[in-house]
């Protein structure tokens, strides 16, 4: 997205969620969103299969008391 495209997106999305934004703030928010877009592109390039489900209630592993070094 170019800066102008990002700015247009920010202004439209702000209307969609009923968030008042003046022009100066919309421009600053667009700068942040452009940085995040670059990160989203990294994830977009990451290969995910259709059956890869989201981590809804994230659990790093089943809870288990320690028993010594990891086998």
């Amino acid at each position: 997205m170019t800066h102008d495209e990002t700015l247009a997106y920010v202004q439209a999305a702000a209307v969609a969620v009923r968030l008042p934004l003046d022009a100066a703030q919309a421009a600053r928010v667009a700068l942040h969103l452009q940085r995040t877009a670059a990160m989203a592109a990294l994830l977009d390039a990451f290969e995910l299969a259709v059956h890869d489900e989201p981590a809804e209630l994230f659990r790093p592993a089943p809870f288990e008391p320690p028993r010594g070094p990891t086998p």
Binding site: Y9, V10, A13, A14, V17, R18, L19, P20, L21, Q25, R28, V29, A30, L31, H32, L33, T36, M39, A40, L42, L43, D44, F46, L48, D52, E53, P54, A55, E56, L57, F58, R59, P60, A61, F63, E64, P65, P66, G68, P69, T70
Partner: protein, 469 residues
């Protein structure tokens, strides 16, 4: 001015043995806060009268021969996102000032008090925990006790600075993307980010439900272990608390590392570390290597993507949480983070959904890595504490925006949910400032991270330094 003469564990032992009265400990603590906090700005609220009364109860208990808790008489303070009964939970904000006072203490505050610790006040932080520097516009910046021109780190900056300044030996903080580990690194103290879901979050103001962790910061490692053990326990009323039992670590501290497989993270964790950060890791690796073989260049899976996903999930959940208040009071939010918060609220849903799908794949890869390793080490921050107001930092000739980039090395780890002990090291080339190392273990294996940390503490490589204020 010197630090209080006893560390956390020493204080607990001295009170338990009757060598020090709890009331004397609290008076010394109050005097230190009053003498130093105008310069450090760690505290946003104090409750000295209540602390004195609680200390008197500890001394009375001891005089009656009643058993004391493991932290009896130990002063502590909490990041001001923890509920304290009768006080408004500010979470570093101006907006929350209109909220009603908390009805009860947060669960972790209750647990420390049940162990005999004495609450003396609440601590400064980045607004709503969205930051790594505690440059809080509403309450002023918290300053690094080792160099008052520098940041203390964040978002639990008051929690780090209060311990480093010798004001209290124990604090509580929160860590979503590094907010315990960063101030621990910048302030030269010990910190623990436990496994995601280990400790109850009930009674704390949330930031990002799917990544928020709470944990302790302390001036010695045995004390950190004592506090962590006191904080543990299931909480059926907190959907974010996944632990169904306790796994105490204090008794396992001295088991050593001879039977542990220890690795040093390379790749992303070297590329984003300045020379002092790499030196800190080398010092730790050498100390651990004296006991066991340490392998270098271990590859943590998809670290850059994990950092991106953590960034996106944080922005989206944080922005969504605050959207109702932003509609009415955006002008009252922290100027340094409000635009990021709004940007997060407006992110396309597909970015968030993809980040959460990535997280499940990522978790499995991280857990696979720990089939081969017991403990992995990496720098906690890319550099030592920058000066307050710094906008850009340089890492290997590349320019990064300072405030978000301080978490480059912590974000991939917390996104995996793995436990981390942050150890205070003192490499050269930092102008005398500390720089911490992350000691990372598999989910639910805090004990292994503590054992490695204890070797660093006993070797003298990792330690807390007194400051002159």
């Amino acid at each position: 001015m010197t630090l209080p003469p006893l560390s956390l564990a020493q204080t607990a032992h001295a009170v338990a043995r009757g060598e020090r009265r709890a009331t004397d400990v609290i008076e010394a603590c109050i005097a230190r806060i009053e003498a130093t906090d105008a310069r450090v700005n760690a505290f946003t609220g104090t409750r000295f009268d209540a602390a004195r009364a609680q200390a008197q109860r500890v001394d009375a208990q001891r005089a009656r021969g009643e058993p004391l808790g493991p932290l009896a008489g130990v002063p502590f303070a909490v990041k001001n996102l923890f509920d304290i009964a009768g006080e408004v939970t500010l979470a570093g904000s101006k907006v929350n000032r209109s909220h009603p006072p908390a009805a009860t203490d947060a669960v972790l505050v209750q647990r420390l008090q049940a162990a005999g610790a004495v609450l003396v006040g609440s601590l400064n932080m980045d607004e709503y925990a969205y930051g790594f520097t505690t440059e809080n516009t509403h309450y002023g910046p918290t300053r690094n006790p080792h160099n008052l021109r520098c940041v203390a780190g964040g978002s639990s900056g008051g929690s780090g600075a209060a311990v480093a300044a010798g004001q209290v030996p124990l604090t509580l903080g929160s860590d979503t993307n590094g907010s315990i580990r960063v101030p621990s690194s910048f302030c030269g103290i010990w910190g623990l980010k436990p496994t995601f879901g280990r400790l109850s979050r009930r009674g704390s103001f949330p930031f990002v439900h799917s990544i928020d962790h709470l944990g302790p910061l302390a001036d010695d490692l045995p004390g950190l272990a004592l506090a962590y053990d006191a904080l543990q326990g299931p909480d059926p009323l907190d959907p974010g608390c996944l632990a169904t039992g306790m796994a105490p670590v204090a008794q396992a501290l001295d088991l050593g590392v001879k039977d542990l497989r220890i690795g040093v993270l390379g790749g992303y964790f070297t590329e984003h570390a300045t020379a002092p950060a790499q030196q800190a890791v080398s010092l730790a690796a050498d100390a651990l290597g004296a006991h066991t073989g340490v392998h270098h260049g271990v590859q943590w899976p998809d670290a850059a993507q994990a950092r991106a996903a953590a960034f996106i999930v944080t922005a989206s959940e944080g922005g969504s949480l605050h959207l109702p208040a932003l509609r009415e009071h955006a002008a009252d939010y922290e100027p340094l983070s409000v635009d990021r918060l709004i940007s997060g609220a407006l992110q396309p849903a597909t970015w968030y959904a993809r980040a959460q799908r990535f997280r499940r794949v990522y978790r499995d890869k991280v857990n696979d890595l720990f089939r081969h390793w017991d403990v992995l080490i990496a720098p906690a921050t890319p550099l030592a504490a920058p000066e307050i107001g710094t906008e850009w930092i340089d890492i290997h000739g590349q320019r990064f925006p300072c405030r978000p980039s301080i978490g480059l090395l912590t974000q991939p780890i917390s996104f995996s949910g793995c436990p981390v002990v942050a150890a205070p090291l003192w490499p050269t080339g930092t102008g005398g400032l500390p720089l911490g190392v992350q000691i990372i273990a598999a989910p639910w294996r805090e004990d292994l991270a503590f054992r490695a940390a204890q070797v660093l503490a006993q070797s003298g490589v990792a330690h807390v330094k007194e400051v002159t204020l």
